[in-house]
């Protein structure tokens, strides 16, 4: 738990340090204000609507997750599965693909946006899978975890939910 808190603190510090070094550049007509990230206004706990939650069999009142400062999330639990919606303001599908040890990283096009379904190398037996797609200057990620092995595919579930929410999310910038 301490390590997770340390991660958040370190990432917050890095984000501050990076933003401090990336101020607006001076042009001939004065400084151009940086284009704000449309993802900034997205609350991870409002990505799924009550209707989405009902369809997926999830209980309302998601629990905010802040282990990683650049990827806040919202965790929902249901009888058969858990779903966590994240917004990542530091990475895109393209930059995520460069991580060396994915067990699965299948790219696809989601309504014109780069998207991918992925399984971490350390979670191949845990029935957990994420679908991510570009949004704003970062990406949205939907993680689905099946509570019991065998019955349904976590990747299929995460993809279904990602497709459902995609039209409502900010366009890629």
């Amino acid at each position: 738990m301490k390590a997770l808190r340390t991660t958040a603190i370190v990432l917050s510090g890095l984000a501050l340090a990076l933003s401090a070094g990336c101020g607006p550049s001076a042009g001939g007509d004065g400084p151009t204000p940086p284009r704000s990230d449309a993802l900034a206004g997205v609350d991870p706990c409002s990505i799924l609507t009550p209707q989405d939650l009902g369809t997926a069999g999830l209980r309302p009142n998601g629990s905010p997750q802040s282990d990683v400062a650049t990827e806040p999330g919202c965790y929902y639990s249901g009888r058969a599965m858990t779903v966590t919606t994240y917004k990542n303001v530091a990475e895109t599908v393209e930059s995520s693909a460069t991580k060396p040890d994915w067990a699965k990283f299948d790219r696809f096009d989601l309504n014109g946006r780069p998207a991918a379904t992925s399984v971490s190398a350390g979670s191949t037996q845990a029935q957990i899978c994420s679908t991510m797609f570009d949004s704003g200057k970062g990406m949205i990620r939907v993680s689905a975890h099946m509570k019991r092995a065998g019955n349904e595919d976590a990747c299929q579930k995460s993809q279904e939910i990602a497709k459902q929410i995609e039209p409502r999310m900010p366009k890629k910038q």
Binding site: Q65, Y75, S120
Partner: protein
Amino acid sequence: MTQPNEDGFQRTASDMHNIRQDNDRIQQNIADGQLRMQPEAADQAARAYEDAADRVHLLIERSDHLDRISGLGDYPSGRQLTEKFRLKAKNGRTGAADLLMEYATELQRRADLVREAKRAYLTQEEHLSQDFNTMQKGME
């Protein structure tokens, strides 16, 4: 070189083996008619095991999240830190999320077994009641 979490992972894997064996034993006892549980106690116990399993499911999500950290910058300290977090999430053979999934599965199995013990109790009650009625009719 020994990885920092190797001992912890091995110990957990060994604990998992013991939990699985306990569940096997409980299952055998129910099958042999040696274990029945009073319904109210069984329901409470099953709920407690399911609540515990739910907490483990949240840990699975958080562990997977940790495993997905792709980098804390290209500075040597950032790379070292990333590797340190990765080692906390997996040990090269089995990831923490995978071990936690085994644990959640055994907790759910225990909840299912407790409910099975409740059904065994109710079935026995029913048989006793039928036997009693038959005996009473015989005495009339």
